[in-house]
């Protein structure tokens, strides 16, 4: 049974902090050239989605089964926020190249680890 699991040590961080976690996998019968672990954000909401892969780690020729710890330095921006039109969500994603195995783990990157809520104010 193939699987790809991702575990973050903390899922609420402040911008600029180090995010750490572990990825575990079992490729089953398939053989992947690389295992990619990516730090990225994307937007959700009314606007067409924007996204950016901020950092990536590649594990070459991963063994059939295994686990690997990783760490990323979070940038100072953008922050996790949720408004009337836009939400910005940070995630770590792991994928075994040339297989269907992909998983992700969302987390918060904002002061005090609290997502910023933007409440609409009334037009004057």
């Amino acid at each position: 049974m193939s699987f790809l699991h991702l575990r973050l040590d903390r899922d609420a961080l402040e911008p600029g902090e180090r995010l750490t976690g572990t990825v575990e996998w079992d490729q089953g019968d398939s053989v992947a050239q690389s295992l990619w672990i990516s730090l990225l954000w994307h937007t959700e909401g009314k606007g067409t989605e924007d996204s950016d892969t901020v950092d990536q780690v590649e594990i070459h020729s991963p063994t059939r089964t295994g686990s690997q710890s990783f760490e990323f330095q979070l940038p100072s921006a953008p922050w996790s926020f949720s408004g009337r039109l836009i939400s910005l969500i940070w995630t770590v994603e792991a994928s075994l190249e040339s297989t269907d195995l992909l998983t992700n783990a969302p987390f918060i990157s904002a002061p005090e680890g609290q997502e910023i809520l933007l409440r609409a104010v009334e037009e004057p």
Binding site: T48, T53, A77, R84, L85, I86, S95, V121
Partner: protein, 417 residues
């Protein structure tokens, strides 16, 4: 790449191709018709100004009728003879109009002026005497040249949109499983800030403007003169196009009430555009406000000083309000339309003056701590702006905005463990 993503990418490429073909057809047909109805007649009129004037005799003249699907159209059919260099020639061109239109009376009046056997002047190309014309002046028929412009705007505007936002149209939608795009940092590291910003834009990555500490003169988001010129040009084209059809309909034989009814909303829109052009023209003479920030490196949770100065007739201002606004901006597509929505999440009045006694001053700009920094991606943005609103009795009001770039507090710039 998974099968679904391959299909999605192929589908996007297909829809992208359809877009290019669609715009190409509009641009090509619009351009050909524009050349035929505007460029060639104008070029011929200019050329004919140097042609030789010779006496000619009208041989035949009549209003020619052309059957159309809705109604008949008419053109001036005229032939004439003239002598040049001892040789006899004939011509059959009244003016440089290419085609026929619905107005009969105007053409009948021309035909009445040139009965067979009458003498008149015609203009002949001395190098090619087979090229001749009776009336070499520009006429209403040139307005037909406006007809293909909307088609060209759709075509070339579509090309612009495809080039500017084509990447986004071709991108597969995010789903649970997707492949990653590789980061190109080693390349961008060697670029200057402008090149890096351009590359980031092309790559769909968020843009961060170059931030310079120290005083910063803010620039208004829009130019009054450019607004006036854009609205004015659009108004001239719109009203020229609609006015031509309206006049042609009114001058036609038996006014078509259906056509008049059909044209009336376009005429009303044209009148509104003239009003908007006048309004924008008057706004050019409004007093202009200049804002200078004490520090261009704005941070959440900090307070800055802004100096302001008014140019022009500031004594006409009855009220001046400056406010700080934070808003979300989301751009999305619905069908073939691209729409942009805003939602304001922060508003704070900075200055609210009745009856100004000074033409310059300064105020505090407190950036809230419990909010978000500026963010600018291709379709989603967090914007911070200073809004200026001024009330002038019986005159267009002052309305300007100055965009700010607000960064996270400095504490978040450093690496933290």
């Amino acid at each position: 790449m998974t099968k679904n993503e391959t299909e999605s990418t192929a589908g996007s490429r297909f829809s992208g191709c359809i877009g290019w073909i669609f715009c190409g057809v509009f641009a090509l047909i619009g351009s050909i018709v524009f050349v035929f109805l505007a460029v060639i007649p104008v070029w011929q009129i200019i050329r004919a100004q140097s042609w030789e004037a010779v006496d000619c005799t009208i041989l035949t003249s009549e209003v020619e009728s052309h059957s159309g699907s809705d109604s008949d159209t008419y053109s001036i059919a005229i032939t004439y003879a003239f002598e040049l260099g001892g040789q006899e020639f004939t011509g059959d061109r009244y003016n440089f109009s290419n085609g026929s239109s619905s107005g009969y009376n105007g053409k009948a009046a021309v035909v009445d002026r040139y009965p067979p056997g009458s003498q008149t002047l015609c203009f002949v190309d001395p190098n090619t005497p087979s090229s001749s014309v009776i009336n070499r002046s520009p006429g209403w028929f040139l307005l037909w040249g406006l007809f293909p412009i909307p088609f060209m705007l759709i075509g070339f505007g579509g090309f612009y949109a495809l080039i500017r936002w084509g990447g986004e149209l071709g991108k597969p939608k995010r789903r649970a499983k997707k492949s990653f795009s590789r980061r190109q940092d080693p390349v961008t590291q060697d670029l200057d800030p402008q090149q890096a910003a351009l590359l980031a834009k092309l790559d769909g990555r968020p843009e961060i403007p170059e931030i310079r500490p120290g005083p910063l003169v803010l620039e208004s988001e829009s130019s009054r003169v450019i607004n006036f010129v854009v609205i004015g040009i659009f108004s001239v084209f719109w009203n020229g196009f609609v006015g031509f059809f309206a006049v042609d309909t009114l001058r036609g034989d038996g006014t078509s009430w259906f056509m008049l009814l059909f044209l009336s909303p376009f005429v009303l829109a044209g009148i509104a555009m003239i009003g908007a052009t006048i309004h924008q023209g008057l706004a050019i003479f409004n007093p202009k406000i200049h804002l200078t920030l004490s520090d261009g490196d704005l941070r959440l949770g900090e307070t800055y000083s802004v100096s302001w100065k008014l140019d022009g007739r500031s004594n006409r201002l009855q009220q001046l309000t400056l406010s700080l606004e934070g808003r979300e901006q989301a751009t999305y597509r619905r069908g073939t339309d691209t729409r942009t929505e805003h939602s304001v999440f922060h508003r704070h009045i900075l200055v609210d003056e009745q009856r100004l006694h000074f033409t310059e001053g300064s105020f505090s700009l407190p950036i809230p701590r419990d909010s978000v920094p500026s963010f600018k991606a291709q379709r989603n943005e967090i914007q911070w702006r200073i809004l200026v609103a001024g009330d002038i009795p019986f005159w267009p009001d002052v309305s300007e905005s100055f965009q700010l770039w607000v960064s996270p507090p400095k504490a978040f710039d450093e690496e933290r463990s």
